[in-house]
Structures are given as structure tokens and as C-alpha cells.
Symmetry: C2
């Protein structure tokens, strides 16, 4: 909890320091109300392994800024009108300003990486590589995500490829900075990436399932992913399941293919019932649990991790994955 409060504080300081005409309002609208989860993860993790607090904070902030740029782009790409219980930025400020705010966030993220002067130039170069590689990987994941919209051939393997690229690396990134500041060797850094490869997907799978219930800050709307034809784990499972009849598959495809504003609530309800009937929801929840356990195993086998850290990690994993909204 303390890292979360501190994370919100540094985000507010950042906002306060950006007084640029034409940017301030948009930044405020985008950043206010966010959970500041990423800097909180960096701060908490830096503390566990003895990294300099200021560096962990600045790194987490850079990751959070990049994350918010992605959110702005995702909302435009998906046509999402609600986030965190407010209109999305492109809805409230228009697409031109939304795009420019996202550009500012990306530039500012890299500028923050560039200004981590309390570490060696070699470490900073290494971190720039980590940051830009992860940025690139996330975009490749998003390309696959867009490519598989309403795709009847979509499989669990394709899904795995999307979420490893789009979510896995990206969640681990918040922890890579502190680990490099604490001079961790590459093999332990690699273990952190692997941890991300399990926890990130667990988080995303849970997100896919939660899309079927109200309360995600989207004005109570359920089934946004269905309306957008998104390649979720539920879609992959339902298309591949032997329990789904050919007629059901073809109706599922029809609903996914419809433009989001034309999809009716009864169509969404039909898909949700299908996911229940053929076991896609159970499959998703089982997968999320399985990967969360795998993540826990990787975490607790990291050398030099105290039992307090392990129990705090479990609370964080719980917060990320067992959440109801």
C-alpha cells in the first residue's frame, strides 16, 4: 500500500511539472484516476532487493508513462469510450489531442530513462535496450491482436503468442530496472522475464474473463471484447472446443464480425452463455490459476528472497489476478 501511495505521489508531481500549453489538460485527464500500479511494483521490488529508491521510482514512472500512451492508443484502436469510469481521452479531447498526448508520454518516458544519471552509462544503455525491446515486443503483440480479430482459425497457441508479446514482457519491465540497479546478473534478470511470461498472461486471462461481468469502469457495459471481436482466451477455447457445434461456431463468428455498435445485448448474452456451456470460462479461470502458481514458483526460487517478500508477492499476485474488477 505504501508503494501505491508513493507511486501516485510521483505521478502527481510529474503532472504538475508539465505545464505545456495544449498538453496539460489532456495529461491530467489521462493520468488522473490511474492506479499507478507499475511504479508501485518498481518501488516495492526495489525495496526487496536493495536498489536505490530514487532510481526505482524514476524507472517505474517511465514504464507508467509508456503504459498510458498504450492505453490511449488501445482505446482509439478498440473504439472504447470508457476507462476508469470516465470518458476515454479521444472521446473527451478528440483524436488529434489524444494522439499528441500519447506522443508526449512516449517521449517523456524515454527522456526519463535517459536521465537516470545516478547509475553507470553501461547500465543505462542496457536499460534502454530493455525498455525499447519491450516497447517493440508489445507493439508486435498488438499487431497480432489486431490481425486475429474475428478470426475463426484462432487457436490457444495464437493466443499465447499474443499475450506473451503484449502483456508478459511488459509486466516484468517494472522489475527489470531495480534488478539492474541492484547489479543483478543476467540469469536472474532472465528469471524475472520468465516470471512476467506467467504473471502477465495470468493477468490478461483474468481480464478476458472479467470482461463478461460489469464493473470494469466501462459504464457497466459487459462483453466489450465480444463487441470488438477481440481474440480472447474464451474465443480461442470456444472455436477449438469439440463441444462447440459447427452452427455455434458460425454464429459466434457472425457476432464477432459485426461492428461493435451494431452488436445487440442479446447477441452478447448468447456468446456469454456459449462460453459457459462449452467450458471456456472454466478453462480460462483454470489457466489463470495455473500460471499464477507457476509465477509464484519462479518468484520463490529467486536467490536471496526473504519469506516476507514471498508473502508480499502473494498479496500482489492476488491483487492482480484474483481481482473482481
Amino acid at each position: 500500500l505504501e508503494p501505491l501511495n508513493r507511486a501516485k505521489e510521483i505521478l502527481a508531481e510529474t503532472l504538475h511539472s508539465c505545464q505545456e500549453v495544449g498538453l496539460q489538460e489532456g495529461l491530467q485527464a489521462q493520468l488522473a484516476g490511474g492506479k499507478a500500479l507499475r511504479p508501485a511494483l518498481s518501488i516495492w521490488w526495489g525495496k526487496q532487493i536493495g536498489a536505490p529508491p530514487f532510481l526505482s521510482e524514476q524507472w517505474g514512472l517511465a514504464v507508467e508513462l509508456l503504459h498510458n500512451a498504450f492505453l490511449i492508443h488501445d482505446d482509439i484502436e478498440d473504439g472504447d469510450r470508457w476507462r476508469r469510469g470516465r470518458p476515454t481521452l479521444w472521446v473527451s479531447a478528440g483524436i488529434p489531442i489524444a494522439l499528441n498526448v500519447a506522443d508526449f508520454l512516449i517521449a517523456e518516458a524515454y527522456r526519463r530513462v535517459a536521465s537516470l544519471t545516478d547509475t553507470s552509462a553501461e547500465t543505462l544503455v542496457q536499460l534502454l535496450r530493455d525498455f525499447s525491446e519491450t516497447h517493440r515486443t508489445t507493439v508486435i503483440g498488438q499487431a497480432l491482436d489486431l490481425h486475429h480479430r474475428a478470426d475463426p482459425e484462432f487457436t490457444i497457441t495464437d493466443y499465447e503468442q499474443i499475450i506473451r508479446n503484449k502483456t508478459g514482457r511488459y509486466l516484468a519491465l517494472a522489475w527489470i530496472g531495480p534488478a539492474r540497479f541492484a547489479a543483478w546478473p543476467q540469469d536472474r534478470i532472465d528469471a524475472l522475464w520468465q516470471l512476467g511470461d506467467e504473471l502477465g498472461p495470468a493477468f490478461q486471462i483474468r481480464d478476458d474473463v472479467l470482461d463478461l461481468s460489469p464493473g470494469k469502469g466501462r459504464g457497466g457495459e459487459i462483453g466489450c471484447d465480444i463487441r470488438e471481436g477481440k481474440p480472447s482466451i474464451l474465443v480461442a477455447h470456444a472455436f477449438q472446443s469439440a463441444e462447440t457445434t459447427p452452427e455455434q461456431k458460425s454464429r459466434l463468428l457472425q457476432v464477432l464480425e459485426k461492428p461493435r455498435e451494431e452488436t445487440t445485448p442479446p447477441e452478447v448474452d448468447w456468446v456469454v452463455r456459449l462460453f459457459e456451456d462449452v467450458g471456456s470460462i472454466t478453462f480460462g479461470n483454470d489457466e489463470a490459476r495455473r500460471r499464477r502458481s507457476k509465477g509464484s514458483a519462479i518468484f520463490s526460487s529467486l536467490p536471496g528472497i526473504s519469506s516476507t517478500s514471498v508473502s508480499e508477492f502473494e498479496s500482489i499476485a492476488s491483487y492482480l489476478i484474483d481481482r473482481k474488477v
Copy 2:
């Protein structure tokens, strides 16, 4: 000419190396047909000052990738449907894919900066600062540009602020890399930034004027800036000129305020005639010439520059500023 050919070659190699599903076609559509001006400038400049050719190429490529991401965003923000004689990417591929291709280009640009391993870590960190600061400055310039659309209070001073941020730094960036690779001291690097502060604006002012004649690869359309309500030097001059009557100012504002698709050809023609009558076009052309000369003076006073370099610089400046399209 040789640098231009080499620049196109390295751009083609980059394209060839990106085989990602969902990205390849969009990248192809965006990058094909570009002038590859920025890597050509880096390559030429690196040669004049004895920087390692491979580093100059890679740096110029990173700048070109970032530049293309900006072009994609600008086209969406401005609603432009034509560029380089083809439909813009958001028109041919849709906004979601266009945004994702731009994200890829930005990530790839920073990844290229991060992979300049044939230089010291200290130089690379310095270059990351140059790159991300310039990225940020350009976005701030674009924020001001968006802020001053159809603004009757818009002045030449505001215009200067926009173009210094948006165009000045950015043109110089292509030369900063080679200069740092050649271990130039900071005061000479600063002279390059000043050169950009003159040449970039000269280029942009010329662009504002050329918008009034056909042939910019926009399908023959003239006055795009007028339709978009853009804060050009012509608009700033016409609003500030004592020769413009209050009635003319208010009609100019009306045309600028209209959504671009509702602006009629006679309205555009009326504005072009106004710009002629009150001397805005002459003012713009004079300003472009004046700043080009200032740029030439800065260039030729750089220490250790040969007379061949000076004469080649004049051809480049001519190509950038005296152009007809």
C-alpha cells in the same frame, strides 16, 4: 545524390528485416516512396566530418523512423488523405493499424539508438538524451500547432514558437549523431542546433507557401492548410497586417474555422488572394530566404569545414528551401 541512394537502400533493408504478421504491409505502405532525406543528411554530414559511416547511417535511420511515425500521426490529426501521391496510411489500412505501425516505428527508432554499440556508452547516453529531448520538443510544437488552429489572436511570435519546437530541433537531429560520433565539443553541437533553428523554420515557411500551389503529392489539392485552419506564417501575417481590414480578418477566421470537408474551393481561392493582396506570401518568401542565409552563415563559420562542404551545403539548402513542390 549518393547519400540519397544509400539512404533509400538502408530503408529498404530495414523494411525487409521486418516480417512481423500485421505490420509488414503497413510499414511497406508508409515507408515506400519516401525521400529518405534524413538518413541522407546524416550520411552526407558524417562524411564531411569523418564520422564512422555505419554509425551515421544507423543514426539517420533512427531519425527517419521517428519522422515517419510523426507523419502517420500528423495525417490522422489533420485528416489528410494524400501523401507522396498515395492514400495516407490511416486511409488505406484504417486508424488501428496506422497507429500500431507508428508505435512500431517509434519503438524501432529507440531500439536502433540503443544498438549503436560501436561507440562509448557515454556517447550513446548523450545521444539518447538528444533524441528523446528532440522527440519531446517536437510534440510540444505540435501541441501549440493544434492549440492555435483557427485562432484570430495568432501572431508571428506564436508561429516562431511552433516552428522552432516542431521543425527546428528536428532537422538538426540528423546531424547531431555524426557530430557526437566525431567527438565534437558541446559548443559546436550547439551551433548545429542553431543551424536547425534557422533551416528548419526556412523549410517549414516554404512549405506553408507551397501549400497554395498544386503538386505536393496531395492529389492536386491546394490550400490544405487553409481547410485545416492551420497556424501558418501566412495566417499569422494576415491577422497581424495593418493592410487586412476587420471584415477580411473576420471572413478569414470564418473560413479557417469551418471543418475541412465543408470548406469550398471559392473560399480557399479567396484566402489565397487575400494572402497575395496583403503581402503575406511575399513576407513568407522573404522570411524563408532570410533564415536560409542565416543558416548558411552559421554553417560556413563552423571550424574545419572545407569549401567543398560549403558548396554542397548550399545545394542541400537549395533543395530543401528553393523547391517548387
